[in-house]
């Protein structure tokens, strides 16, 4: 479909879904991890790891799928580091997660410089080679539907995978014994232990899963949505994911709604930033004197406000962030 035929609403909706996809993907992982009782502040770092891993491998090999696979594995590898310190080592999850974010920021920057140098020897451009990034995948005739077509059926392939994953994880949490265990882990590891459930093994798996999801979300940002990498390109989206899991009251539906809400405000402010110069409406021209940072701030302010209003009276998993076993016997 030709973008020129899209009306503003369709355009905004499409941008919203596009912006929400990585948040939902990383959010699924974070949700699973938090239900199991581990709060992974390092989600931002994991996403950034995914960004750089996907970009460099896709750029070096020319295969986007290799980049995506590497991003997932890299996310899991860094998550394993986090799991080793917090679950096996019983270190504080907030502190370890923060350290992880700093590590990922430094590491991705270093790899980025090395990659640029290496590429510089062959070719001055740092854009992804043609074909290395993903392009949108239109789903046959469905993509020609009015409104729904461009919004839901002309997205990157990872979007469809995210929808499937969300449905699967929702079903698992809701209907299977695995989901029961997952929900129990965060609320009462004591009860799980008494039931013969290996608390730490389960938490390891949940954190690895979250790492994989966040890595894939990073890949979405670098080799799908932008075909580029920039230092700290996640720009706090990982922290937004943390907030959105709380916003969604640890439910899949709430999480997705929150991500769409955040994505909507984000695409709205981006459109507004352009519209103040291009629009026919004089009222919008008045906004030209407003610094663009104010617009960029809007989604975060909105997320904060929504969080303050909506997340009251829901404590979340009782043992979120506590190591297990809680006390080492004397």
């Amino acid at each position: 479909m030709n973008p020129a035929h899209e009306n503003l609403l369709t355009f905004l909706a499409r941008q919203t879904v596009s912006a929400a996809t990585p948040l939902i993907l990383a959010g699924i992982g974070e949700l699973v991890s938090e239900l199991a009782g581990v709060i992974d502040i390092g989600i931002e770092g994991l996403m950034l790891t995914g960004c750089i891993a996907a970009y460099t491998i896709a750029g070096a090999t020319g295969h986007g799928s290799l980049g995506l696979a590497t991003a997932i594995l890299a996310g899991m590898a860094v998550a394993a580091l986090f799991a080793a310190t917090t679950i096996s080592g019983r270190a504080d999850q907030i502190v370890s997660g923060t350290a992880l974010n700093l590590l990922a920021l430094g590491l991705s920057g270093t790899i980025w410089s090395l990659y640029q140098n290496w590429r510089g020897n062959h070719d001055l451009s740092t854009a992804l080679p043609h074909g290395a990034g993903y392009s949108r995948l239109a789903v046959g005739a469905l993509a020609r539907l009015p409104f729904f077509g461009p919004v839901f059926f002309d997205q990157y392939s990872l979007f469809y995978a995210t929808v499937l994953l969300a449905a699967m994880v929702w079903g698992i949490i809701r209907f299977t014994r695995m989901g029961l265990i997952l929900r129990a882990l965060g609320d009462s590891p004591q009860a799980c232990q008494a039931c013969g459930i290996a608390v730490r093994t389960w938490r390891w798996l949940a954190v690895l899963f979250a790492g994989g999801c966040a890595g894939a979300a990073g890949a979405y940002l670098s080799i799908m949505r932008t075909h580029a990498f920039a230092t700290d390109m996640t720009g706090g989206q990982g922290f937004v994911v943390l907030a959105l899991v709380i916003f969604g009251r640890w439910s899949m539906g709430g999480l997705i709604l929150g991500c769409l809400f955040f994505g909507a405000i984000n695409s709205l402010q981006q459109t507004l930033q352009t519209a103040r110069y291009t629009s026919h409406y004089a009222a919008l021209h008045a906004l030209q004197s407003v610094p663009f940072e104010v617009f960029q701030m809007l989604p975060y302010v909105a997320a904060l406000a929504a969080l303050a209003v909506l997340s009251r009276n829901h404590p979340g998993p009782h043992r979120l962030g506590r190591p297990w076993p809680e006390e080492i016997s004397l």
């Binding site: 299977t176 695995m178 265990i181 609320d187 009462s188 008494a194 459930i197």
Partner: protein, 510 residues
């Protein structure tokens, strides 16, 4: 059926179990009696795979088994009901049982489980609402869920760790027939307790542990209560007698000793609004506590005790009515810290969470309330010399058994931990004392100690409000008794009213 042979287990220098040999018969209810720290919990943990013996062996049906984990224990047919329930509150009854009793990752096994659960609940004549979240169940109900859960996972041996500690007298009585039904179905029940009366009513055989050793095993009817207590504790005890309230001159009520003392604490028409619309956790409560008396509040847990206590502590503001300390009518507007002139001694129900800082030393815990006041501080600096001196006095006076004052409180036994709380709260002679289930989880000796301390404080003129779910202990030392039922407080004519009348009031049928 199950045999433990020469089991020993040490924790550091302490022998928790010393050469314990125990043999359980099929279809029997076997009681394990012992004081706190006698090794009961360790024994149970070994049976359930949560701890591993240093020496000795376990035989099940004649075959040697190694119980390396709770899963292994369950596979062997051993189910356990822990004293502190191990349930996930946000999940439903069925989900909790599925967590424990089903296997595999995918199917929660609803249909098959419901069949197994119904088979047991029919035998026990219980009615469980399987779809209800555990968080909505009262303690007695939760215990039933725990028992059914253990039955569904086990099948041969049911271990009950202090099952009656959280129950009302009525609920305890109601627990006996179902447990007999379990035994009649061919299972062995292991019943751990330190309450003699229940063990006598329920058990066929008993084993008495003292300091990690078996001091007696045999049929229950071979010993009388006095002999059992003697074996448990090693010597006869001085304990406020639970019956014959009137006969003890020391405990006689002071109601008619002429002029009534002025109330130290008064609640006038206090109501508290609940979180749900139209719910009143406390409604028009009138209450007074005078110097030199113990006012006992009886009631089944969950009838408003929490709200009453938090209201008195100033943690909850009443929607209506006044809480008055001494004679200042507006004192309910002050925070707990600024209710000066009325030092309040508070023994909370949950000493681990509300009263003690477990990793801190005995000394630091003893000073928690006074560390910043003269003479324990000077210009904002701690005077450790005074701390040491005062805590040494308190440790002696309240007979706290600890290696020294610098020992972390968390390493002491439950009874000694409670002594630390009592020493801190009563040691400075407060004029008003609020005690909530002060003997919870304590053995006979420690319970007697706590109750005697309350009686001593009363003799010295303290006004004591005692909220206690153990009716017998409450009646033994209270001068006046009121019953809290469904948020409403009603004073009884105790000691003229009978125990049975009060019990009926607790259940709202009188």
């Amino acid at each position: 059926m199950l045999q433990l042979i020469n089991i020993s287990k040490r924790f550091g220098p302490v022998a928790a179990l010393d050469n314990v040999t125990l043999s359980l018969r099929r279809g029997a209810i076997h009681g394990i009696l012992g004081e706190n720290g006698a090794g009961k919990s360790t024994l149970m943990n070994i049976l359930f795979g949560l701890a591993h013996p240093d020496t000795g062996k376990i035989e099940l049906d004649g075959r040697r088994v190694r119980i390396v984990s709770p899963v292994r224990a369950q596979r062997l047919g051993i189910g356990m009901v822990h004293q502190h329930f191990k349930m996930v509150e946000s999940l439903t009854v069925l989900e909790n049982i599925s967590l424990a009793a089903a296997r595999g990752l995918w199917s929660p096994g609803r249909r098959e489980l419901i069949g197994r659960i119904r088979a047991w609940t029919d035998k026990l004549h219980w009615n469980l609402d399987l779809e209800k979240p555990v968080a909505d169940l009262a303690v007695g109900r939760r215990q039933r869920v725990e028992i059914v859960k253990a039955l569904c996972t086990g099948g041969k041996l049911l271990i009950l760790d202090e099952p009656t500690a959280v129950l009302t007298p009525q609920e305890v009585a109601e627990l006996i027939p179902p447990l007999r039904a379990v035994a009649a179905a061919g299972m062995t029940v292991l019943f751990i307790s330190h309450k003699l009366a229940e063990v006598q009513k329920l058990c066929d055989r008993i084993t008495i542990l003292r300091k990690g050793r078996v001091v007696y095993t045999g049929a229950i009817n071979e010993l009388d209560a006095g002999q059992i207590a003697e074996k448990m504790i090693g010597a006869r005890l001085k304990f406020p007698r639970l019956t014959d309230h009137q006969e003890q001159p020391d405990n006689a009520p002071r109601r008619d000793s002429g002029e009534l003392a002025p109330p130290r604490l008064e609640l006038r028409n206090v109501s508290i609004r609940g979180s749900r619309h139209g719910a009143w956790p406390l409604l028009n409560v009138n209450l007074s506590v005078r110097s030199g008396e113990i006012h006992g509040i009886a009631g089944v847990d969950g009838n408003g005790q929490d709200f009453l206590i938090r209201c008195i502590l100033g943690q909850l503001e009443p929607a209506d009515g006044n809480v008055i300390f001494g004679d200042s009518p507006d004192s309910h507007r002050k925070t707990p810290g600024t209710r000066s002139g009325t030092p309040l001694g508070y023994i909370p129900e949950d000493r681990l969470r509300e009263a003690l800082v477990l990793p801190l030393s005995v000394q630091a815990n003893l000073m928690l309330k006074r560390y910043h006041t003269s003479p324990f501080a000077w210009m904002g600096l701690c005077r450790f010399g005074r701390w040491r001196q005062r805590s040494a006095e308190l440790i002696g006076q309240f007979d706290i058994r600890c290696p020294d004052a610098q020992t972390p409180v968390g390493t002491l036994s439950g009874g000694n931990q409670q002594k630390v709380v009592v020493a801190r709260e009563l040691g400075e002679k407060p004029r008003l004392i609020l005690a909530v289930n002060p003997t919870r989880g304590l053995d006979v000796g420690a319970s007697a100690f706590v109750m005697n301390q309350l009686l001593a404080a009363r003799r010295e003129g303290a006004a004591i409000l005692l909220v206690h779910s153990d009716l017998d202990e409450l009646l033994a030392i209270s001068d006046r008794v009121s019953v809290l039922y469904n948020g409403q407080l009603q004073e009884t004519s105790w000691p003229d009213a009978s125990r049975e009348q009060i019990g009926k009031m607790m259940l709202g049928i009188a």
